[in-house]
């Protein structure tokens, strides 16, 4: 009995550990998408942030400097995305893809040039990492709590503040917002910047909290899983959080199920469980699990009326 309880607690802790970057990314992406800016570049922002967090922490010996660098790196890419999509009305998906590929290459190029370890940063220890606060076994570092707080924060800002109301409006009918005398561009830039902040924290979590250093392509598609969680949550913070936890749980279970034979089913392929978040999202998108409705103006550049 006690053994079962330990297993449950351990699985829950593992779920939270895996879900933390997903939650941060999903909440960030939510702000961006609510304002009408599609963000396929979450993955790239997170990767770049992870690299700069580990590189800075390694050079300065301070995890907090790492967090700062991560936010800065993600914000630079967020501004680039804003510059391309808001200022120059470029294709949002193309810009996001460009950011992903750029981050994929640049992290390895800079990492190799600076550290000469095939794209990895030196291993981090002690104060170079964000360490657990209360429960060393569970790995409850400060960013886990930041992720948990980001959900009520996102809900409150989007649903309960004037800024949130305008944000939702600009993602549905930007013309109406402009007509009310509010700048569409400035609103969207703020949304994109909030997204950068949260994606930056997610990246820092990966390289200086969950792991002890940066390794190439360490985001491994988590930015896209966060995107899937947003869709699954129908562009609402709390359901999106639920989707992140569910995907995290799947991952935690996948690790436990490796090589285990289930009665009646046999061995469940690990690849199936790994692909499950994507498969579930695809089923959802195909309309088999109810309809999802994206913000109406998402992906449409706004041309100011003259």
């Amino acid at each position: 009995m006690e053994e079962a309880l330990t297993l449950v607690v351990a699985t829950l802790a593992a779920t939270l550990r895996v879900a933390t970057p997903l939650v941060l990314c999903a909440m960030g992406g939510l702000f961006s998408e609510k304002s009408g800016i599609i963000d396929v570049g979450l993955e790239g922002k997170m990767l770049m942030a992870a690299f700069f967090a580990a590189a800075t922490a390694s050079l300065t010996g301070s995890a907090w400097a790492g967090v700062g660098a991560a936010i800065l790196a993600a914000e630079m890419l967020a501004l680039l995305h804003g510059f391309a999509c808001i200022t120059h009305r470029g294709n949002q998906v193309v810009s996001g893809i460009a950011i992903n590929i750029l981050a994929m290459g640049l992290t390895v190029v800079l990492g190799t040039a600076w550290f000469g370890r095939g794209g990895q940063t030196p291993p981090l220890a002690g104060t170079e990492r964000l360490n657990p606060i209360f429960f060393p076994v569970a790995g409850d570092n400060i960013l886990v709590y930041a992720a948990l707080l980001s959900v009520p924060f996102a809900w409150w800002v989007i649903e309960r503040t004037r800024f949130g109301l305008r944000l939702r409006a600009v993602g549905e009918v930007p013309l109406a917002v402009e007509a009310a005398g509010i700048s569409v561009s400035w609103l969207r830039y703020r949304a994109v910047l909030i997204c950068g902040l949260l994606a930056g924290l997610a990246g820092a979590y990966l390289s200086i909290a969950q792991n002890a250093g940066f390794s190439r392509d360490m985001t491994a598609g988590q930015g896209f899983i966060a995107l899937a969680a947003i869709i699954f949550g129908r562009w609402r913070p709390v359901p999106a959080f639920g989707a992140c936890l569910a995907f995290g749980l799947l991952d935690a279970i996948a690790i436990r199920l490796q090589g285990v034979k289930l009665p009646g089913v046999g061995e469940v392929p690990v690849q199936l469980i790994q692909a499950l978040p994507y498969l579930l999202t695809l089923f959802l998108l195909a309309g088999f699990i109810g309809r999802t409705v994206a913000p109406k103006a998402a992906g449409v550049p706004y041309e100011k009326e003259h």
Binding site: H88, V93, I97, A98, N100, A113, Q271, L282, L285
Partner: protein
């Protein structure tokens, strides 16, 4: 979108604007190389030498370009229909599954003259089928093709790992790869072919798949600009309402565009599996799908432009490897950075230099 922008002369629009975009991308690359502490011009010299300095390096440049022509065409065909197919990677990968299954089942009984065309068809068919699902989801169920094709890349990767590790692995093999294909399923190498007509070149990965890629370029050009289906496809991309009014079946045209796109991506499998590896291996399509986006954007969606862009990226890929050999500080991933920047400047920021060019060349209205 461009309605409010005054028009530029044709040669500026087709020639100068894309060049300005590429120039900006390479300017940034030069700055990054400088930042790393290497003289950009020295690096450029080594890169060019590594890409076209010998008949072997030219062979490898053209071999990489073959893949990029296939994926570039794949992205372009979908783009002309207003569809952003990011799934080229997965479609090429699943195309390889079709190719491998066909060869593994039949290479013992069929002669090369039948086996190779059949394997090519299987690659195209599986690639098309993998693209057909997101197309169906977009046209009939209203889900966004960008999101679905991204997800299908991950699903394709998981599926292939499972099949390679558990089902298709050669008996007794430690690495997840299939048994070798019979010689009848090999697309002849360019070196062997040229030797046959009396021209001696150094051996490389280049094979006759390049001719198939060029043939595909001509086919796409004829299809898009000289057939009613191509016309319907392009109308769908420009103005879906007009296409509907003109009697185009939007759903079926979406499906057609994506299937064609997926089939073209399947060409990567022909070049890689039938031309080089001669067995089914993991991750043979890695990176080619994304490069296809850069190639299509840079080539402005036209087969001729795509061939030129594919040659450039082929040269970068090959030259980048040589550059890394000479200067270990500059890794091969520099090519990935260049791809990202080209997609950024030729895609998302395509209109950035327009105001400057307009100030220079705008027609007086």
């Amino acid at each position: 979108m461009s309605a409010s922008r005054p028009p530029l002369p044709g040669w500026v629009e087709i020639g100068l604007l894309p060049l300005a975009n590429i120039a900006m991308a390479f300017l940034v690359v030069g700055l990054i190389v400088k930042l790393i502490g290497v003289d950009p011009f020295h690096a450029l010299k080594l890169l060019v030498l590594g890409a076209v300095g010998s008949s072997e390096s030219i062979g490898y440049t053209l071999y990489y370009a073959t893949n990029f022509i296939f994926t570039g065409l794949a992205v372009a065909v979908a783009f002309h229909a207003g569809l952003f197919n990011i799934g080229g990677e997965g479609q090429a990968y699943i195309g390889g599954l079709g190719c491998g299954l066909a060869v593994l089942a039949l290479d013992g009984i069929l002669p090369g003259l039948l086996m190779i065309p059949l394997a090519i068809l299987a690659s195209a068919a599986f690639g098309a089928a993998w693209a057909a699902i997101p197309a169906w989801m977009q046209a009939w169920r209203g889900s966004h093709i960008v999101i679905t094709t991204i997800m299908f890349n991950f699903v394709a990767s998981a599926l292939m790992v499972y099949l390679m590790v558990n089902v298709l692995i050669a008996p007794g093999s430690m690495t997840p790869q299939s048994r070798g294909f019979a010689a009848s399923a090999a697309v002849p190498s360019m070196q062997a072919t040229l030797q046959w007509v009396g021209i001696a070149v150094a051996p490389s990965a280049l094979n006759l798949s390049l001719l198939l890629a060029l043939l595909a370029c001509v086919g796409v050009w004829i299809f898009l600009w000289h057939t009613p289906w191509g016309y319907g496809l392009r109308t769908l991309g420009h103005n879906p309402e007009a296409a509907l009014y003109a009697g185009t079946n939007l759903k079926r045209t979406t499906l057609l565009a994506m299937c064609l796109s997926g089939a073209l991506a399947g060409g990567v499998a022909v070049n890689e599996l039938l031309g080089v590896h001669h067995r089914l291996v993991l991750d043979f399509a890695a990176g080619y799908g994304f490069t296809g986006i850069a190639v299509a954007l840079m080539g402005r969606g036209h087969p001729l432009g795509i061939v030129l862009a594919a040659l450039l990226f082929g040269a970068l890929q090959q030259g980048g490897a040589e550059l890394n050999f000479e200067i270990p500080k500059i890794t091969r991933e520099m090519v990935v950075v260049i791809q990202g920047l080209v997609i950024l400047f030729s895609g998302a920021l395509v209109h950035l230099p327009r105001p400057w060019l307009q100030a220079l060349f705008a027609r007086k209205g």
